[in-house]
Amino acid sequence: MVPLFLICAVAGWLYLGTGRALKAVVTTEGNDVELLMRALDRLTRAFRYEVIATGLALVLFAVLAVVTRL
């Protein structure tokens, strides 16, 4: 469970960064596209971590299902 928690925590942190970058697009002027790209980059990393977390959760589900059947 610890790796899953860590991956989700990192994804959460990246979502916060994405939110801050998107907020900066609204509140600042003259650098919108670069800030949007920064937000998308963080969002991509958050998505990647979530896919990894889902994969790990699936493996964990499979292991639990096998163990509880035994």
Partner: protein
Amino acid sequence: MDHRDAYEFTSRENETIGKAATWSLALAGASFIMVIVHLIFALVGSQLTGTSLRLLVFDMGAGVVSASCYLAAAILFAFAGSALRRVVRTQGNDLQHMLKALDTLHRIFVLRIALVFLTVIAVAAVIATGEGL
């Protein structure tokens, strides 16, 4: 056409957007797999014999609700990924596609926040009525 709508992202920006599209679609796929897993657990994991009807309905209901939420997320992630992919592949409408993708992402986040509150309420309900089950 409004001059601002004609903005085209550069190849470097398209690369960043393309990666976001790829991982959004990957997350849609992962969410869809979770739909199947939750449905299997709801159907196979519930013991039909010797279990009260209320507990059975609660067990299966929780699984079906989780599966529905994952399904909604999967569809929205697929929409967001497709919109981002269109930003890269098409020309002349980049900002409109980007705004559509951001709007879909906004819906995903609202759904997820609602899901967190629903989970908290469900856990509180289980604790409160646990003895009754």
